[in-house]
Amino acid sequence: MFPSDGFLSQPKMSLGQKLLHLHWLFVILLTLTASIGFAMLYSAAGGDFDPWASRQMVRFGVGLVGMIVVALTDIRLWLRYAYAFYFLVLALLVAVEISGFVGMGAQRWISLGFFNVQPSELMKVAMVLALARYFHGGSIEDVGRPLFLLPPAFMVGVPAVLILRQPDLGTTLMLGLASIAMFFAAGVRMWKFVVLGGLGLVSAPVAWFALLRDYQKQRILTFINPESDTLGSGYHIIQSKIALGSGGTFGKGFMQGTQSHLNFLPEKQTDFIFTMLAEEFGLVGGLTLIALYTLLLVYGLVISMSSRNHFGRLVGIGVTMTFFLYIFINVAMVMGLIPVVGVPLPLVSYGGTAMLTLLFGFGLLLCVHIHRDLTIGRRDSGDEM
């Protein structure tokens, strides 16, 4: 129903055309970043590909292929099934909650036979898609109406509470912040965020007593004064700062990080891998990685802004924001700027779940890029492909 003014806006592109328009530079930057991770995992194992580096490389390879597959799909497919996907993941979250009640304690995993999925991770992507579809369908005027904002607020609130109950503070935080960023990018008025912030401050004491588990409270208290408990919860932060600080400008050299290799550093292959990088390669190494991340973020923003369809823009900003939150929360945590929350360093930390989420998200981002010139009507829900 909309006129098209070029082959790129045509409903269908050939596979070859799509491959040609894939953002290859972005893929290369991703691979470079992940390679830093491989090197650090090799070092963490004391100079061995086993047990972490080799598996991480296989995962990244498989994930990269999956990412390109996602990138090559028609973006309208994601528009059409956004809600369906969201509700599927929400159902999985509820299932986890119930099986958790049944007897496993804190459970975040669901077994799908051949592999395990963590619904809270999938929710990060599902939420981006669902919110993008919702705001894609609303006009500027709609976004101005408070009632219009109620459904998406529930769409965020329900899974957020479920995940917080798991309990997984880090994921909840990321989900909430990424969603707020999408509300913001969709054009929700500034004053509404100010009110929300005010309400948050007022309700913080309620959350403290009603929602947070003891260990989560402990982490926050520890963050406020880490030196009070050097061998308990504050230990991680202090050891991480020692490792980082002793790295200096140029670091101790590859595989020479004494604090990491002597196990003073906890979880060096996962959440604290940035510390290890900064210990072994110093300020220079840390800045290099942050520069790579910055480039990826800039490309993410550029891709988002250059999309000619609103769904694409919102998916782009949602993915970029999620990526940024991974980076910021993790790095700020290891440097003692925020409390210890279990958030891995994207593309670098060992672990399959976050890698899967991220490459899925980047696949969507690249998909947005390929379909940047495709226009999709506000009321078009992707049914006409």
């Binding site: 054009g187 050891q239 490792a243 600080g245 002597l262 910055t294 506000r378």
Partner: protein, 618 residues
């Protein structure tokens, strides 16, 4: 399209604002990194080093103790221990069950191990059993695939080759007690042993050596990753004793189960060639720890196995003291060698009657004859004429009355009484009768077997003030240096007087009428001279004396006389002196003299081998 471009503009504005926010936050991260890694870096480098370097002490091997001919008396032996590392064992209980098929473990041991497993970190080895037999070690090693986390560990423990035979000389080592901590960190090492008695204690610092240290890199759990630096300690010095192991063992065997002591010294150097006190104890047992029952049986034994009687036993010297009385009298001129005194079997002073050991009396005797037959009446009279002060002074010159400074702990000084001493200690003035009693070596006077051997040596060597010593070289904390001075100072006793006394001692053994004629050495070049002593430990009442003194063998052990004998040999060119004290043994000439004879015969038989000089060169 118009609506969408409006949306697009708003979106782009908001996206740029988000981008700016991200940029600001990332800049904050970079700033924090700069702060930690550049500005505060030095502080964290220091913290990192403290994190990972741990200093450990290395115990030095304890110095060996050897005899004068270089034979091992005390050394270190490999001590095989079996340890369990809980982390590697996994199921500790199961592993211990399997291990107890080889090394039976008592419920008490199991409890101790369980307690330690709980208390210590999982990678710290816990001792299951020490001092394993070689067969047990072999069986554990063979079965090691089925015993995860079980390791054989080799430590060093002190070993005394001849246990009880040298225990009183060497002493023993044991764990450091709270009071003995001096701040030396070596002493705080678990399992460290220090000398608690004997040579081990006197020369503990030299034997101990100096501890080394090892700087190790540890991880956050304290597990050792690698060694960064190692400084070897100084092994303990080897201490060479003047004891001849063969002689020491010979005498120990000769004494059997008597409660006795024998000291053999070189009359010119004062080197103690044997120092035996029986019964003895096993010093190796002290190393591993004694049970309560074992300890109590040692302590309650009436023959006092833990006391080194040779230096800590104080006895009235009895007739062996008569040489000192004779020398004092000759020096004063109270008697000459020709002074003849008649013995009727007793003498009187006021209302008191002083008896000779021979009921019928000896008739008329000169000095040598009185020594030969050990006439008490003769010496009552000589003492009366000489006075306690002159006797006491001579006794002190001969080495009695004060400790001789032997390098062993617990040496007693004995007692040489005087008027002043009695006023101070008892509060009444000295009586003449007490002087007469002192003339036969009874009463207040006390001497150790070591002092008697030194007294005899000083008589035999022509009046030189030899002092006893136990080591061939001077042992200091820093190490071992040779003794410089060889010849001892003269005591200023007129040689003719000494010759008279020696002649009397010669006749004791070699004259058919001497008290110890039966204990003579018949080989001419090995002949000895000596003096017996028999010391009452009970009062003989007047009634008993009239009905006939009860024979020793009819008395309970504790009431029998002490038997003493001092001697030197060879007769013509004295080289060795010996003192023998047999507690409650009976007669000095019948019990102690044969032991002295056998000892001197043995030491002279060994004499060609005894020089430490030739051994050092060999």
């Amino acid at each position: 399209m118009h609506r969408d471009s409006e949306r697009h503009k708003l979106f782009s504005r908001r996206a740029l604002m988000l981008g700016a926010g991200q940029g600001a936050l990332l800049s904050a991260l970079v700033g924090r990194m700069y702060y930690l890694q550049v500005i505060e870096s030095a502080r964290y480098v220091t913290l990192a080093d403290e994190n990972r370097i741990n200093l450990r002490l290395l115990a030095p091997p304890r110095g060996a103790i050897i005899d004068r001919r270089g034979r091992a008396m005390a050394g270190n032996e490999q001590n095989y221990r079996v340890v369990i590392i809980p982390e590697q064992a996994g199921d500790v209980e199961h592993t211990l069950n399997l291990l107890s098929l080889i090394v039976p473990l008592s419920p008490g041991e199991r409890r101790r191990i369980r307690r330690e497993v709980k208390r210590k970190r999982a990678f710290v080895p816990i001792t299951v059993r020490e001092n394993l037999e070689w067969a047990e070690v072999a069986r554990i090693e063979v079965n090691s695939p089925d015993l995860p986390g079980i390791l054989i560990d080799v430590g060093q423990s002190r070993n005394y080759t001849f246990g009880p035979e040298t225990a009183h000389v060497l002493g023993y080592v044991a764990a450091v007690s709270e009071k003995e901590l001096t701040g030396d960190p070596l002493l705080e090492l678990p399992g460290f042993r220090i000398g608690k008695a004997g040579v081990e204690r006197v020369y503990d610092l030299a034997l101990r050596g100096a501890g080394g240290s090892s700087q190790v890199e540890v991880n956050a759990l304290g597990r050792v990753i690698r060694e960064l630096d190692r400084q070897e300690g100084q092994p303990g010095a080897e201490v060479r004793l003047t004891i001849d192991l063969q002689l020491q063992r010979y005498i120990t065997e000769r004494l059997g189960d008597l409660s006795a002591s024998v000291v053999v010294v070189d009359v010119f150097t004062g080197e103690v060639m044997a120092l035996v006190s029986t019964p003895s104890f096993d010093p190796n047992a002290f190393n591993t720890g004694l049970s309560q029952a074992e300890w109590e049986s040692l302590v309650s034994n009436p023959k006092a196995p833990l006391t080194n009687k040779a230096i800590a036993g104080q006895y009235a010297p009895g007739s062996t003291f008569k040489m000192a009385v004779a020398l004092a009298a000759l020096e004063k001129g109270a008697v000459t060698p020709d002074t003849h005194i008649f013995c009727s079997g007793s003498t009187k002073l006021g209302n008191s009657e002083f008896h000779c050991w021979k009921r019928g009396g000896h008739g008329t005797l000169d000095l040598q004859g009185a020594l030969e037959q050990s006439c008490d009446v003769y010496f009552y009279e000589v003492a009366r004429r000489t006075g306690i002060e002159r006797i006491g002074a001579m006794a002190r010159r001969l080495g009695l009355g004060t400790s001789l400074g032997l390098d062993l702990p617990g040496e007693k000084g004995g007692l040489v009484p005087s008027n002043d001493w009695k006023l101070g200690a008892i509060g009444t003035p000295w009586q003449l009768g007490e002087t007469m009693i002192a003339g036969i070596g009874q009463g207040y006077i006390l001497a150790t077997p070591l002092q008697l051997a030194i007294m005899t040596a000083r008589i035999a060597n022509g009046g030189r003030a030899v002092t006893p010593r136990l080591t061939v070289d001077q042992v200091r904390e820093a190490g071992v240096t040779p003794f410089l001075k060889v010849e001892a100072d003269s005591l200023g006793i007129i040689p003719e007087h000494l010759a008279q006394v020696r002649r009397g001692m010669e006749r004791v053994v070699n004259s058919p009428s001497g008290t110890a004629y039966r204990a003579r050495i018949s080989e001419t070049e090995h002949r000895m001279a000596g003096k017996s002593g028999t010391v009452q430990v009970r009062r003989i009442s007047k009634a008993e004396r009239e009905t006939g003194v009860v024979k020793n063998k009819d008395l309970p052990w504790k009431e029998r006389d002490h038997a003493l004998f001092v001697a030197f040999a060879p007769l013509d060119n004295p080289r060795f002196s010996v003192s023998v004290v047999v507690e409650h043994g009976g007669g000095g000439s019948s019990v102690a003299a044969p032991i002295a004879r056998d000892t001197l015969a043995e030491v002279q038989r060994l004499a060609p081998l005894l020089s430490t000089k030739t051994d050092q060169e060999a």
